[in-house]
Amino acid sequence: MDNPTDTALRQDTSVEAGRALRAGAEPSQALDPKSPVARFNADRPLAMDAGVDLAPFQIAYQTAGRLNAAHSNAVLICHALTGDQHFAHPHPVTKKPGWWETLVGPGKPIDTDRYFVICSNVVGSCMGSTGPASIDPRTGRAYGLDFPLVTIRDMVRAQAMLLDHLGIPDLFLCIGGSMGGMQVLQWASLYPERVFAAMPIATGARHSAQNIAFHEVGRQAIMADLAWENGRYLEAGTRPSKGLGVARMGAHITYLSEPALHRKFGRRFQGGSAPTFSFNADFQIESYLRHQGLSFVERFDANAYLYLTRAMDYFDLAADHGGVLANAFRGTRTRFCVISFTSDWLFPTADSRAIVHALNAAAAPVAFVEVESDKGHDAFLLDEPAMFSAARGFIDAAARARGL
């Protein structure tokens, strides 16, 4: 992300388009994650919105910092669609630094010298928490599409069970961007007494029709790949890597912005200064997107992508509360800080304002900042000093109010 031109240049530009997306690796982290795991047996099932009691199941998580004696300094980070629990730890597959080390660490706004920070892989994902790539104990093979449909609320219920498991009564702070922000809102609505402060970033209280449309294109790309094998690719020994790669390429465009694409790539050619009169990746932007698709399939499971995009599509917090979003937060004592980015067209500022207005109507203490950025939706993962200063101010003040 930081230097996309360089990463694009590493790709072989002579590869034909049809061969550009090769078969991905085994989703090894799904079964054998490089992080702690909390296991829940049949006596503690996950009651899912689909009407299924999921058991047994497991949640893979990472932590940083130390829990204080009063157990009052816990921060829960909720990750985005294709994120994972490795927020401040090198990724076991890509070896890249933790995905939110810009915001979390010693001396950072989420200061690991002061707070005990937890991030768990959401249920339905593929980095160690139970999902479609996990083994179904009834059949001895991967769940595939037999896995129940997952909702944002299911993810949050599982996280609450993890906190119980870790002996954490309530959260000082619940924070996340995009799908992570949806979880933050769901947390504040479902367990208001367990959330002291909440920071939903670059998110919405519901998924828009346009966002559902983009997700559907991605899902259809996966399902159109013959190697998908109706979701049974793990047994068939194939991988729908072309479909998943195309899904990622399309989705990745929605995470950026036209000005950012123009600034980074423009119409620049990849190998020289002239078109090759072929369907090779002539343009740097093509090469970059192919690289994004290629690297994604190495770390992500296609069925998990289907499930998690669906969870976001189904999210509509107002609909769960009689169509009035304010009712989702009625009586809350949680303090909120909502952040949006000017160039985010996936979750535009209007979505954040709708959350803010609902919180106002519910008389909740809410702060709101719209950060000026041309980096699009992904800005929440990047170096955005204005976001950091807002987060630092809000979190420090909340810590004072909680006596931390």
Binding site: V366, A367, F368, V369
Partner: protein, 237 residues
Amino acid sequence: MSGPDTLLTDAASGAPWGTAAGLPRSGDTGGARVDHLVVLGLVPPGARVLDIGCGDGSLLALLRDRRGVDGRGIELSRAGVNACLARGLPVIQGDADTDLANYPDDAFDVVVLSQTIQATRNPRIVLEHLLRIGRQVVISFPNFGHWRVRAELAFRGRMPITEILPEAWYETPNIHHCTIRDFVGLCREVDARIEKAAALDARGRPMRFSMPWWFWNLIGAQGVFLLRRGEERDEPR
């Protein structure tokens, strides 16, 4: 209906307002802006307060620390919002012209609009929202009827640049100037009851002695009003 003769007095008692509000004499403000202390004197302890155009949050922090109010703010600038966040104040980056419509009726005990109404696109609609959202409204604005403003226009023939109206006409955010008397007229139009009113000098100090309205409209650099919705008036019309 509040007439000009009740201006600058406690509308209920008829007594000159200012002394009654317990305003400090010069020198003992504890570092707070004098015009903020005027607002402080109007806000009951523990009230829910919305400060529109709250800047760096200094008034909200003062109200929280000295009155124990549950304060919220709206501020246009990100720098102001960040300063408020650092003070632990729940402040929303937003615009009085567009965001007030989303607040429910009677959401706050007191709504404060300090030195901002003249910069809104539609002051009448803003004032109507204030009266709807708050049980009481504290509003202050620069008085365009001040003698220095009049003198600049009358004798120099130029748009006035004064201590509290420091920008040139082509760069000022103040697009809807009014005089104290104009504002009283608007209060009548929107059926707002004036509970208290005061004129402040250019440094925000209240002017205490009782004088007729035309005097304040000439001498007051700023007007401060405490308003309430007209239908809540308790005296017979």
